[in-house]
């Protein structure tokens, strides 16, 4: 196949931290096209290079840091970079992506992806600049906060324009829910920070001055004109530009899907204390955007006075406000800002952290654990100090923090006493901020997502709200599958999905942008096909690691305890109907309706014959 003319920087660096060797390879055009980039590349490399029995926190796991073909180009929100590996949270395939400027910088430095293998004995960081990579000593940075180390590296390297991906103490201490900080944004989910920590990789610092090649720059520019105008002028983009994703707090509260007290309630009486209006009034200094995004959904908070004076953070956005704010019942937006800062600097995923803390408090309230387990700390909702203390204990793995640091699934097994029934996770990944008791499609999305209970794969709750909050019709399974192909496609292309989600920017635009960037003619359907290929591949990775359909499940709470409040009061999911929906989902996917394993026919149709062979189908 002919060489690719652009979009891709053209090189992948393999960094072996055990041998301290770097080898740089040209991108294989067939691989590039079949798996597109970002998470797609990550999945294929994990399938090819991580042995099925590998310990997620052992040197055999591979961390793939991959931008996409559109990352860094004149495309709205094209700043995404994916971190992929076997997740220490689930034991299955995991990935998480970050916006911000780290991804583009990596490509300007000449690399589409860094593949980190092995593990260093001593703490190290990578210095990446214009085609060169050095493995450098990081012992003086070890122990620093995830945000603080970025400032320190920029200071020591003498350039504030350097972009850094880093971990905090949580990642160093192999906390399952550790995130990777990418400047002010984070790759939060699936414990990618712990994978970095297990390799003693404190940070990746990048400075790039190279052009990103583009096959047809004029076509890309002309396409961009229309796309930027579309997003900029869209009515809902105006809302997001003003309020940011925090706007969804009121929306979730109205629709009674806001997690409160460990997903027991669907509305929060103090929601107005933590909503977008209040944020704007009290803490927001400015909007922040990912590269070239006219929507700027980020809001930067700075607390000017009081207990948290001087706290600065990009956020909090919806998930953080919901999981640390509503779910733990924090009373003021400043409390959430500070908890957000603590999480980011300690290097913890705000979603999982809020989920686990709310779970621990419920266990304490129910007497499943007591002061003897918490070191005398009294756990209660609405107490900011309790939240801050637990975050710190988790990051340091001290006392009860050592149990909680391993995730809600582990903690529930440890605590027992029926707490498994309200441990809100799927496959070990803590559920993100949508209650699914009145949202069967969203429940299906959580149950079947390759990484566990995360909304990134299919945010189907709007479909439930549109079509019926207690209906289990086949179209819901179809919708979830469609979303599971569209949304992760953006993580492969290296741009944000929200322009498509919120303003309806068409998939045809992305196909045209891909073609202008790479010179490879492609249709939106072909891109979706590539995304389906990747979804089947991640399923295959999980099956090879022992996944069965029994794990495409939801927490018992959603079937047993009706929503006590709000517009869907009394709703809960029906086990039999949900099982039917799951079966329909398997069938529609071309997977075995009993086992949920992709069929040979499906894999071959997607060009994954070698995968079918390896699975022994």
């Amino acid at each position: 196949m002919a060489a690719i003319k652009g979009g891709y920087a053209g090189r992948i660096a393999w960094v072996d931290l055990t041998k301290r060797q770097v080898s740089i390879k040209d991108v294989d055009p067939v691989f590039a096209r079949e798996y597109v980039g970002g998470r797609g590349w990550g999945a294929r490399i994990v399938w090819d290079h991580v042995p099925p029995e590998a310990d997620p926190l052992g040197p055999e796991n591979v961390l793939v840091v991959a931008a996409g073909p559109l990352t860094g180009l004149l495309v709205p929100g094209a700043g995404k970079v994916s971190f992929s590996a076997i997740s220490p949270e689930t034991g299955y395939y995991g990935d998480s992506n970050s916006g911000g400027f780290f991804g583009p910088e990596l490509k300007h430095a000449g690399f589409d992806a860094l593949i980190i293998t092995g593990a260093s004995k001593e703490p190290v960081y990578l210095w990446v600049e214009d085609g060169q990579i050095e493995i450098r000593d990081a012992s003086s940075y070890w122990g620093m906060g995830g945000l603080e180390v970025q400032e320190a590296l920029r200071r020591d390297l003498g350039d504030s324009s350097i972009k850094v991906a880093s971990i905090g103490p949580a990642g160093e201490n192999l906390v399952s829910i550790a995130c990777v900080n990418c400047d002010w944004r984070n790759a939060g989910r699936c414990g990618m920070g712990a994978v970095m920590g297990s390799k003693r990789l404190k940070a990746i610092a990048v400075r790039g001055s190279l052009d990103i090649p583009v096959a047809d720059p004029e076509a890309l520019y002309e396409e961009a004109k229309g796309a930027f105008k579309h997003v900029r002028d869209h009515e809902f983009a105006r809302v997001l530009r003003k309020y940011g994703l925090a706007w969804y707090i009121d929306w979730s509260n109205e629709n009674a899907c806001l997690p409160v007290k460990n997903f027991r309630f669907g509305t929060y009486e103090l929601h107005e204390a933590i909503n977008a209006e209040t944020m704007l009034k009290r803490v927001v200094t400015t909007s922040t955007a990912c590269p070239r995004c006219p929507m700027c959904c980020g809001k930067f908070s700075y607390v000017r006075s009081g207990r948290y004076a001087g706290t600065a953070i990009d956020g909090p956005e919806y998930e953080t406000l919901a999981m640390l704010g509503a779910n733990c019942c924090l009373p003021t937006v400043e409390d959430v800002v500070y908890a957000n800062w603590l999480c980011d600097n300690l290097g913890l995923d705000t979603i999982s952290a809020g989920n686990i803390i709310a779970f621990a408090i419920e266990c304490y309230e129910k007497g499943i654990i007591g002061p003897e387990d918490t070191g005398g700390l009294e756990l209660r909702y609405g107490d900011p100090d309790c939240v801050f203390k637990l975050l710190e204990l988790m990051a340091k793995r001290e006392g009860i923090g050592d149990v909680l640091a391993r995730g809600v699934k582990f903690a529930a097994n440890k605590f027992g006493g029926g707490s498994e029934r309200f441990a809100m996770h799927v496959k070990g990944l803590e559920q993100s901020a949508y209650d699914v008791r009145a949202a069967p499609a969203m429940g299906l999305a959580y149950a079947t997502a390759d990484i566990g209970a995360h909304h990134n794969r299919a945010w189907a709750i709007t479909y439930d709200i549109e079509k019926g909050r207690d209906t289990y019709t086949r179209d819901k399974a179809e919708k979830v599958i469609y979303l599971q192909h569209v949304r992760p496609l953006f993580d492969m292309l290296g741009c944000c999905r929200l322009q498509w989600v919120e303003t309806g920017l068409s998939l045809d635009y992305y196909a045209k942008a891909y073609e202008a960037a790479t010179g490879i003619k492609v249709s939106a359907d072909e891109l979706l096909r590539a995304s389906e290929r990747v979804f089947n591949l991640t399923r295959a990775i999980n099956v090879r690691r022992g996944l069965t359909s029994a794990e495409d499940r939801l927490p018992d709470r959603v079937f047993e305890e009706p929503v006590p409040d709000g517009v869907v009061k009394g709703y809960k999911l029906d086990r039999a109907k949900f099982a039917e929906l799951l079966r329909a989902y398997y069938e529609l996917r071309g997977w075995d309706p009993e086992t949920g394993v992709p069929t040979r026919a499906k894999l071959e149709e997607l060009g994954l014959k070698d995968v079918a062979d390896a699975l022994g189908l």
């Binding site: 860094g72 180009l73 004149l74 400027f101 583009p104 300007h108 400032e151 504030s160 324009s161 400047d183 002010w184 790039g208 001055s209 190279l210 052009d211 990103i212 583009v214 720059p217 520019y221 930027f228 900029r232 530009r241 200094t285 400015t286 909007s287 922040t288 955007a289 990912c290 590269p291 070239r292 995004c293 006219p294 700027c296 980020g298 930067f300 908070s301 700075y302 001087g310 600065a312 990009d314």
Partner: protein, 150 residues
């Protein structure tokens, strides 16, 4: 320039580099956005202010920097020796060098219709006549003082 309206999206950087060099490379642009920090919680665009008494021109050893008739500070690329004295002289840091470009990368206002202003999604960047500078503040003053009139 409206610092509060700037989101740090960097569209200005990319389209500037594309307009002048035809490439996707923000480090070849004549404008940079400084992202928020712990101390400065704002996005701050940095671009040439077209000074009336430019330090860059003062420090240029070969007088390659001049003020054109329309007031725009320009670089005569033929006589420029690429010594970078201008970049060091600019108190705003608004002159840039790139390893592949021998002469300074400096805002030329795109001949009067700046690409960055055209693309800026929030109106944070605007081109104003020096005569209009301070107009908004004067209007605020007028409003405030009018209120006190009996």
């Amino acid at each position: 320039m409206d610092i509060k309206a700037c989101t740090g999206c960097g569209t200005c950087e990319l389209v500037c580099a594309y307009k002048h060099f035809g490439v996707h490379n923000p480090r070849k642009s004549a404008i940079r956005v400084m992202p928020p920090t712990f101390e400065t919680p704002y996005n701050v665009p940095v671009v040439c202010r077209q000074c009336a008494r430019p330090k860059c021109a003062e420090e240029c050893p070969v007088n390659a920097i001049y003020i054109a008739d329309n007031g725009v500070v320009l670089v005569d690329e033929k006589s420029c020796m690429g010594c970078r004295a201008c970049a060091e002289a600019c108190p705003f840091g608004a002159i840039f060098f790139h390893p592949e470009v021998p002469t300074p990368i400096k805002c030329d206002l795109c001949g009067g219709d700046p690409e960055c202003v055209r693309w800026c999604p929030t109106g944070a960047l605007r081109l104003k006549s020096p005569l209009a500078l301070g107009d908004e503040a004067r209007r605020r003053t007028a409003r405030a003082l009018s209120r006190g009139v009996k």
